[in-house]
Symmetry: C2
Subunit: 442 residues, 2 copies
């Protein structure tokens, strides 16, 4: 049984579809979401359907994979079964082996009341809500007669300087300066203010130091204000309160009045992990064994964002820090767990003392293939470990990699086409405000 149809769950099922096992793949949604491009849905470049593929369709030719649209409520590791969240009572589903790949959601660091003012970006619904807020801000500004209120509506604050915050900030600035510039009669969208706030020393901290200046320069060219070493101390419907930047001799507390605040700062593991009854780290992630199983239950594996894995040993990538919450880690871990399950099933089927069977447990070893982040038009960062570079070349590499990784021929073609049109016309054509209601137009 696999819980979660993200990068991890899919990778595990793809290994197991060729093995003599029956797989049940459970997900809350009927689609797999290509999260690295989710910010492009939030910024009206792509449609939801362009980055999502029905999980059933992915496994249509794998008769041993059964896909179930359902949400897991809790895991009973002793009884080897998973209970589902149901309106009517349904029997729990038993398993022989379990892979938990349920990912993460936002964390507001104990300030859950900020969530309504500063939505985060994890699901398609999140993306549509952010798209709606961004587009409505300009619409409302066009109708606003009060100058101060108009500037508030045209101010956008992004909290969190990781890849998602940088991508959103860069794209927002492009929308204001290029996409919308001819379309309004009362406001000039180019006067929009985009502020990116990062609590740590630098934006994109996981990238090599030499790329930070390139990223800052790109954002500055786009007109994004970057505030590093700045902590957000409050979020409400009229903006944020920030503290800090002592190194830059800024005032201790400052208010940024903003109509739109977006959250790209913290994550926490899915709550299902708690029901495993194993030690968790402060972000709610399961502390797993070197083979990714949980202590005491070698038949249960936790992978990706739901687990915290300390790479043992030596060398740059093995310094004892936790592996980052990226697709690459989830995919490699899930495939590792699936291969171990396959090995064990094969052992039970092989003749005794056969020499060809694999060992029942092998430690996981992460192979870092590098990382990338995009800032804007013809601007990206790439860190491949042995080389780090930025600019047009990194941007092209980012484009090709993401097109290549998308699932489905149709999605690749459509995304390529949308990008081509967006690049040459500066247009972002999925600018729809859906589920609009009366209060939105006021």
């Amino acid at each position: 049984m696999i819980i979660g149809g993200g990068f991890g769950g899919l990778a595990a099922a793809k290994v197991l579809r060729h093995e003599p096992v029956r797989v049940t793949l459970l997900d809350r949604h009927n689609y797999h979401l290509f999260q690295p491009l989710l910010y492009q849905v939030a910024t009206a470049t792509l449609s939801p359907g362009d980055i999502a593929s029905p999980i059933r369709w992915i496994f249509r030719h794998a008769p041993n994979v059964r896909v179930l649209l359902a949400e897991a409520e809790s895991i009973d590791v002793a009884g080897r079964q998973v209970r589902l969240k149901e309106a009517k009572a349904a029997a729990p589903i038993g398993y022989d082996y379990l892979i938990v790949a349920t990912g993460s959601s936002h964390s507001y660091f104990g300030h859950n009341e900020w969530a309504r003012y500063a939505p985060g970006l994890k699901t398609l619904e999140d993306a549509l809500e952010i798209r709606r807020r961004i587009l409505l801000a300009f619409e409302r500004a066009e109708r606003e007669s009060d100058a101060a209120r108009r500037q508030e509506l045209l101010t956008f604050v992004l909290i969190g300087g990781g890849p998602t915050g940088v991508e959103l900030a860069g794209t927002l600035a492009e929308i204001a300066r290029q996409t919308l510039r001819d379309e309004f009669r009362s406001i000039d969208p180019r006067q929009a203010r985009v502020v990116l706030i990062e609590a740590g020393d630098t934006i994109l901290p996981s990238f090599p130091a030499k790329l930070h200046d390139a990223a800052r320069a790109s954002l500055a060219r786009l007109g994004v204000e970057v505030r590093e070493q700045t902590k957000v101390t409050a979020v409400d419907e009229h903006g944020v309160l920030i503290a800090g930047e002592p190194a830059k001799a800024r005032p201790l507390e400052e208010r940024i009045v903003a109509g739109t605040v977006l959250w790209a700062a913290g994550v926490t593991a899915s709550p299902l992990v708690r029901s495993l009854g194993v030690p968790l780290d402060p972000m709610g992630r399961a502390r797993v064994e070197p083979d990714l199983s949980i202590p005491g239950h070698p038949d249960v594996f936790v992978v990706g964002d739901a687990a915290v894995f300390l790479q043992p040993g030596r060398g740059a990538a093995r310094d004892g820090t936790p592996l980052p919450g990226v697709a690459q880690v989830a995919i490699q871990q899930a495939a590792h767990a699936a291969r171990m399950i396959a090995n064990r099933v094969r052992r039970t089927l092989a003749p005794p003392h056969s020499r060809t069977v694999a060992p029942p447990s092998t430690p996981f070893l992460f192979r870092d293939k590098g990382s990338m982040a995009i800032v804007g038009r013809r601007s990206a960062l790439a860190d491949l470990g042995w080389i780090a570079f930025s600019g047009t070349l990194a941007w092209l590499a980012w484009l090709f990699l993401h097109i290549f990784m998308l699932i489905g021929f149709r999605n690749r073609l459509v995304v390529l086409l949308q990008w081509g049109v967006a690049y040459f016309t500066y247009q972002r054509s999925v600018r729809l405000i859906t589920n609009i209601d009366r209060s939105d137009r006021s």
Copy 2:
């Protein structure tokens, strides 16, 4: 002032953008919707963004057109102003000339309680709700152990045999028989039952009689049950009650147990029309003068689905029956109203007794360019007045016409690409269930 950014409103603004006038174009949404392809969003072939274009973007190069995202509450024809639906009080907007192009919504013939069981298809939100119901029906059937309940979930009833009902029925049958056939493990989607119910004598009554058999044969080939001369007498959460078909010696009342019921039967004009204080027809449409203005107010025009226009005179298209509620009528009427406004404005600017000015009022004359309807793969009907035909040729004509009429180069390319992929792979790739909640998965 133009109220409504549909086919009519857009056509009027396109005429007036070149005239010495200032135009305010009001719409409840920030996009123009290409309604003829809305059923393809409901059936997961296209994304909402493919058939919608931001109204601002359409008029970005027309500085005399101001686009406002707002909903009109009422029209004060005596005071020449329009009041907006607002959370906070906003001043009414005055006008010199007004074009009302607010279209229509569903009518359940006095049974508004049916709406929740049988949604109709008018807005993007409607389309996403229908898509969600269709996809969830198959997901629930896959998890259902009771055979009778499973068959209920796999039964789809379409009420109304006009173009929308026929398009939805044909596409639904294709989805069940082609798109989904390999994807489920407990059910066979090909066992889905699709029933199309029409109260009148025939489906597609607006088409010539010789095309009806072709349409029926196409639907039969797809596996759609067509029930003509059949009235729906009740709709509830478990299906519909039907009466009639005495000519076919069916029982007088019959229950069709169905998990999904969709409404494509009746329409009513937008409620804003009532505030004009002019005579309405039973469908709530304003009875307009031959020049499309309303009685007593030559500066107010009502066009498209919001008006009922009896074509005077002689000949097949001028038999005194009301013009149909199609895009063609709305576009021609709106352009006519806009040209009359332009003529009157030009009269006021021209020297007195100038011979070059147009008359202040001319009667509207509809020029029927023909009509088309699509049934399914390589099957459509075309009636051009002087010739009527069906089959692959009509289907190709339908495809080209609709691609050609779409607004925006990007939309045309993307839709062409989506159709190409759908045709060759039988896939409908926008199969996302969004805004899913706990009760949906039970």
